[in-house]
Amino acid sequence: MITVVRMLARGRSRRERARGRLMAAGAAFATVLLCAAAHLTALRLDARRGALGVLTEKEPRLMVALTLALLAVPAAAFIYQVSRLATATRERRLAALRLAGATPREVRLTGAAESGWSALAGGSLGAAAYLLAALVARWSLGDVVPVRPLLWTPVVLAAVVLGGALSGLRAGRHVVASPLGVVRRARPRGPRARDLALVALGVALLAAALTGKGRFFLGGKYGAVVAIAAGAVLLLFGLVLATALLIRMAARRAGRGTSAPETLLAARMVEADPRAWARALSVVGLTVFFGSAVGAQQALTVFQSDLTAFQVASYALLYLALLTAMVTSAGALVAHQAEALLDHRRSFTVLAASGVPVPALGRVLTRQALVAALPVCVVSAVAGAGVVVLLLAELYARRPGALAVSVAGAAAMAGIGVLAAVLVARAARPILRRWVRPEELRTG
């Protein structure tokens, strides 16, 4: 097995090696975030005040930990996105292995081993960096920073490596289906309505916990916190899955009535593979969701003149988290754009050869981004702001201006999300120009 992996690793193209490195980076990032989250929940709150002002109050501490853990979701999505890069060359390589007599299981394991290895390399680096940072913190802050949570580091690392291996297992499944060397991508299965069940479950959990006035029928106060956290996470994952459904619906609509050829082509391309777009946009959607929620929550405080230093600091932290998530989203979008370009290169080249100007093909790219990103961002923004407004309805009723502010904030977040997707698509235009050369079209 190890020999096989090593043999295959030698055949990797430059793009594939880049993917390995990107994956390692994502794994390092996720490890650091998750470790920090585990650690923050265990900070000794009452040990000392001042130095760690923000982090020693119990509620914000939990919130920060949750924010960090949720940031790991984008990091995970990023890893998954990256693991799909350069699939064509990788599939050819794996298919060659199949021809040489490897069983489907062996091929799948090879894929898992490859990405697991990248995750291990990156994760170890992240864990080491984190341990170092934690020790420095301990040394400078004393026993505010407990040592025990450091024991969690190997667990986090194991989870990250497992995640990487699993994504590799899944990434290799197309090859597995074709025993001949011909790599033919299986038609991607459409999203299922079942994915929506997760959203419903998440909403139900949240509602049950929140209406119980801080108590839950299981475990009382502690149970309520767990239920809220679990509900939020379920809701988010469900949303990611439901995103594919939403994107496909929006694309179908967009393609139906249009007389613009760019829109028709863009809509059909998005409709044919909504899952890839959902994967890439899930991170954007999450960011928009959180951004809108934070904005809605802050809308209540903008009219307040007595903001405490603590509030300001925690908001700053939240915005930092949002910024990080946005950058991660952009990374996932870039990875997806590269993949999409590779997938459609042949079609675009043929179209260019038959007289479609390359700028029009560039518009197809931006319209794809628009068709996919617009519904995702709008729904995320409405959901994010809506949840907060509903939860704090009483406070909102007392401050009429706050609603307008939170709506504006949500609109701005949705705008930023769509803009990010469109900008990434625009940035791909020069690549398109370089790649789509009719003169390179070999027809026989």
């Binding site: 409709e271 043929v350 100007p357 390359v358 009719p438 003169e439």
Partner: protein, 241 residues
């Protein structure tokens, strides 16, 4: 109508075209034949303005085509040329009908008008039943007929086809070829077909034979005649400077 003068084109060290000259009249149906690697595809791509020759001239309707920039050539292709590729090369995400509609829309026609044109072409080529299907669900012959419909729907003045039946069995190939030639003649379009197949060449008014990047027979209508003209004779008068 379409004229190439002493075209030269090389890829690295291989010379694909080595002084090839041809003249094709309006409404003519010509077959380009020759052994593999003789430069047939390269000649076709030069004539269609897809690639630029290193030396020589390509004229379409009296206008130099090879000196135009990429944008102008793209516009020219869209307005005047239709191309049928060996493997159809339909956009996999679009239905058969949408594949035919797309170039019409890019050409600036309205949606309804384009749809109508697409349907009538699909009907003429006997693939109206497949209108709503995607390329992956079509057979090779159906695929190729949809591709022919796509090339013809915009009513181009010249149709280029590079081994349009190369991927089909002889029966399906003959049907597609018959339809392509019939449709071209009916709309008085010029048709340039690259082929290995002698039977395909028999559909043509004239056969242009290539060898090692040179035209060895049928360079002009006067010297070529139908596929009967002997290579020696044609080569003598054909390679004009």
């Amino acid at each position: 109508m379409l004229e190439a003068r002493t075209l030269r084109k090389s890829f690295g060290r291989t010379t694909a075209l080595d002084g090839a000259s041809v003249e094709i009249g309006e409404g003519e149906v010509v077959a380009v034949t020759g052994p593999s690697g003789s430069g047939k595809s390269t000649l076709l791509h030069c004539l269609a303005g897809i690639i630029r020759p290193e030396a020589g001239e390509v004229l379409f309707a009296g206008r130099r085509l090879d000196t135009l920039d990429e944008d102008a050539r793209t516009r020219l292709r869209r307005e005047n040329f239709g191309v049928v590729f060996q493997f159809g090369e339909l956009v996999p995400e679009l239905t058969a009908e949408e594949n035919v509609v797309l170039p019409l829309l890019f050409g600036g026609r309205g949606r309804r008008e384009s749809l109508q044109a697409a349907r009538s072409w699909l009907e003429r080529l006997d693939v109206a039943d497949c209108a709503g299907q995607r390329p992956a669900e079509l057979s090779g012959g159906q695929l190729q007929r949809v591709a022919v419909a796509r090339a013809l729907a915009a009513e181009p003045r010249v149709i280029f086809a590079d081994e349009p039946t190369g991927a089909l069995d002889s029966l399906a190939g003959e049907r597609v070829m018959g339809e392509l030639v019939g449709a071209a003649r009916e709309s008085r379009a010029t048709l340039v077909v690259v082929t290995h197949d002698n039977r395909v060449a028999a559909y043509a008014d004239r056969e242009i034979a290539l060898r090692d990047g040179r035209v060895v027979a049928g360079a002009t209508a006067a010297t070529g005649g139908t596929a009967a003209g002997t290579p020696g004779e044609a080569a003598a008068g054909g390679v004009s400077r």
